[in-house]
């Protein structure tokens, strides 16, 4: 996950989220939960490379598939 040739972009679907909280346990610098209903709140659309492994793990573990991680070319805006 440490190569510099690509960057990852994270998106979340608030409608799909069931508030299990696994993403926050995986990487609390990228994901949080809304105070009013516990639904996922994305803190970093373009996380640091150091977080890639954890972010990918969060997406794999998300029980309702509310987290998408895509590889994008070029630099983060």
């Amino acid at each position: 996950m440490s190569n510099n040739n690509y960057i990852l972009r994270v998106t979340v679907d608030e409608n799909l989220c069931v508030g299990a909280g696994l993403c926050v346990l995986s990487s609390s610098d990228v994901f949080d939960q809304r105070d009013e209903d516990g639904v996922v709140k994305l803190l970093q659309e373009y996380p640091d490379q150091a977080s890639y492994e954890k972010v990918l793990g969060a997406a794999r573990k998300c029980p309702s598939k509310a987290i998408k991680v895509e590889q994008v070319n070029g630099d983060a805006p």
């Binding site: 508030g19 346990l25 939960q33 209903d37 516990g38 639904v39 793990g57 029980p63």
Partner: protein, 403 residues
């Protein structure tokens, strides 16, 4: 499974070792597709035991968790009696499921549950003090784990301390599978009646109260989003799931450490293994061991097996968590393995809502117990300690220890 191609294995099947899933799961995992199993009532269901297949089923909303839909597999007559009484949101499909679940999600947010940790530690240390003061031997289930988990969840709901014994006993009766259906049914009715009265009383003046039931009355019942009866059933689910399951997991976790002293030494030498150790005990025991039952709402193909609309499916989380493709040497209790992708809390939209709370409670127990009682050991020969076997939730009836 059987040599005769016209016979089907029965489900559930007995465990050979009380602390490991039935060996048949391993044989099923080596065969492609799904196995067909026969249920107690003569009906058939498709059984999935591989990690990827179990996740595929549980992550697909074309499979319903609603037991009132024809074709939903039946575990036993006793279990049916409980399911009929309690149409909790965990047995609803979208969109009703999400609407109900979301009324509760903020209560179990990571940060909210994290803030409960000091209180959980203080309860556990107080219970430990009492146990140490009484002196050995002790029964950890009765003296520590049920009181801890009961006090935590009852605190959230503001259920009076004096009633903990009552709901512990009814919960124990409710999960019996192989008994006259009137037993779990009556237990379920008693808890529901108790909570019905509690909700009615609470509804008279919920303002300014800190408990979850009062909040739900103000935020959901009064505006008409949730009925009184739905709240009663929701409270019952939280109370039950909040203490019985977690207490069982604690007892089994202690059992695993005491019977794998090398793993206990690892944890002692490196407390940073604690979180991983908790994930491993969740994986290893998968206490809700018959989960999860589903029925197909339309024709769906999984692992090359066509499941027809109306057919029952069992996506066995206990199989998935012991699939060698997902966990190397799955029968070994190994707190250093990467285990946090387990499905002990299930997978899909019905994955356990209270899992952050269960994790914190387990972390508190296993951070504290062996540190405060370094000489903790079984008080009876190990082989006398028996699993709960065919209960809906696997656990230990008693855990006699000394120090």
């Amino acid at each position: 499974m059987s040599a005769c191609p016209f016979s089907k294995a029965s489900f559930p099947m007995p465990r050979q070792c009380p602390f490991l899933p039935p060996q048949e799961y391993q044989q099923f995992q080596q065969q492609p597709g799904a196995a067909q199993v026969r249920m107690w009532d003569g009906s058939s269901a498709w059984l999935f035991t591989r990690y990827d297949d179990v996740r595929a089923v549980l992550g697909d909303n074309r499979f319903s968790g609603n037991p009132s839909i024809p074709g939903f597999p039946s575990l036993s007559a006793a279990r049916n009696a409980v399911l009929d009484l309690e149409p909790a949101f965990i047995r609803m499909d979208p969109p009703d499921h999400g609407r109900h679940r979301r009324m509760l999600t903020k209560e179990f947010m990571i940060k909210r549950v994290g803030a409960m940790r000091p209180r959980i530690e203080s309860i556990f240390n107080r219970l430990l003090d009492e146990m140490l003061h009484k002196g050995p031997p002790a029964n950890l289930v009765e003296d520590l784990f049920l009181p801890l988990t009961s006090e935590v969840i009852a605190g959230l709901l503001d259920v009076p301390n004096k009633d903990h014994g009552f709901f512990q006993e009814q919960s124990r009766l409710k999960v019996l599978l192989d008994v006259d259906p009137s037993i779990p049914k009556a237990a379920s009715e008693r808890i529901l009646n108790y909570l019905d009265a509690l909700v009615t009383e609470r509804a008279k003046a919920p303002e300014g109260k800190e408990d979850l039931i009062s909040r739900l009355i103000i935020e959901q019942v009064r505006p008409g989003h949730l009925s009184h009866r739905e709240l009663v059933i929701m409270a019952e689910l939280l109370l039950m799931a909040g203490h019985e399951t977690t207490a069982n997991q604690m007892a089994l976790g202690v059992h695993s450490f005491l019977s794998n002293q090398d793993q206990l030494a690892l944890l002692r030498n490196d407390p940073s293994l604690l979180r991983n150790a908790v994930e491993e005990m969740l994986r290893y025991h998968t206490i809700v061991h018959y989960n999860a039952f589903r029925v197909a709402l339309e024709d769906v193909e999984v692992a090359g097996q066509l499941i027809r609309k109306g057919e029952g499916v069992i996506a066995l989380i206990a199989g998935a968590n012991h699939d060698p493709e997902a966990f190397e040497q799955p029968q070994k209790f190994d707190i250093t393995r990467k285990a946090d992708h387990h499905v002990a809390f299930s997978y899909g939209i019905h994955q356990c809502l209270g899992q952050p709370l269960a994790r914190v409670e387990l972390q508190v127990v296993f951070a504290t117990l062996f540190e405060r009682i370094p000489t903790l050991r079984f008080a009876v020969p190990q082989e006398q300690i028996e699993g709960k076997g065919d209960h809906f939730v696997q656990g230990l009836e008693t855990l006699p220890v000394t120090w």
